[in-house]
Symmetry: C2
């Protein structure tokens, strides 16, 4: 569809919105025209919020998660277990794990996974600082919570090698059937993994 826009300003705004993931031309047009109906102050607040975030966002010096301060609220919380570090790809993953309310350790945000195809090498990721945290001592366990992809597995292995000289336990989050999923639709690798890593019925309390 080679749509003609009646205004170049409109076209430009729509074009910017289509750069967002999952936003096509039709949705972008709808979003832009929605904003256009708002008061100028509201549009300015919208526009400013994202630019201010980009300009002023800080990243935690310890775990590299986004933060308003030099050290993020999780890393500076004395009630968190600083001997357990959960390694994740990005900030969304920190929020996802936090939402489970099942984890009281700290985090380390890699900023991605090793992916030669996309030109992401280990030096592009926050791996050295993870090794430094372990080398400093006091860390008992590293929980790898990366995507269950080849890139995630490669990164797991790379970090395993890097940390092998330290006295630290390395674990990987469980792969298995999602809660609510039906067995017949699960792929065989996941199902196989969930059988091998079966847990005692009624669980044990952690």
């Amino acid at each position: 569809m080679n749509q003609e826009y009646p205004s170049t300003l409109l076209e430009r705004a729509v074009k910017e919105f289509t750069k967002l993931p999952g936003i096509g031309r039709k949705t972008a047009t709808r979003l832009v025209l929605h904003l256009l109906r708002k008061k100028e102050a509201e549009v300015a607040a919208f526009s400013d919020s994202i630019l201010t975030l980009k300009r002023e966002a800080k990243y935690c010096k310890v775990c590299h998660s986004i933060s308003d301060t030099d050290i993020c609220p999780i890393c500076s919380n004395p009630k968190r277990d600083h001997s357990v570090i959960c390694v994740v790809e990005n900030i969304q993953d920190v929020m996802a794990v936090e939402n489970t309310m099942q984890y009281r350790g700290v985090y380390h945000v890699l900023g991605g996974v090793i992916s030669p195809m996309d030109g992401v090498s280990p030096s592009d990721l926050n791996i050295e600082s993870l090794v430094a945290r372990v080398a400093e001592g006091g860390v008992k366990e590293i929980i790898m919570a990366l995507s269950s992809t080849m890139e995630g597995d490669t990164t797991n292995f790379y970090i395993y090698r890097k940390l092998s000289q330290y006295n630290v336990e390395l674990s990987v989050i469980a792969r298995g059937i999602s809660v609510g999923d039906e067995l017949e639709y699960a792929d065989e690798v996941t199902l196989g993994s969930s059988i091998i890593n079966r847990t005692p019925f009624m669980g044990k309390n952690i």
Copy 2:
């Protein structure tokens, strides 16, 4: 889900994005973090595009559609048929009709439909200027292309009354089965309307 954001700047940007139609908290977070990974210049371009649109967008003095100029490209095009006016609710509708490539008349954007429930009265809409266009003469037909809702029908009737003193034909776009739709799933009003307004097989050329 009462999600804790690790940064107030992030939370503020996400909150602004959730004000957009159809964008929930999860999507908003994804969009904002996507932008956060971009270069500052790119985020500035995004941010600026929408604010500039809001500040500098002009509306056509004739049809009230968005335009870069005082008179929009459609209204100022001598090749369009200025004796036929298609009345639509908003700018998206102008673009939707334009995309059909079936219409070569001009438009009139009402800016909504009469809706006492939402506090939209006829004086909030561009109805007076439509009447003025007709009163000026030279208009043969008005095509009402509003939503097929009670509000749309009310607006059709209101405009019909307003224009009854002028020698102008008033038509409404056809209601019927959508192309590609199966008959059994159509509602009875639409199906009934499509039977009453049946057209000769193989059509007649317009």
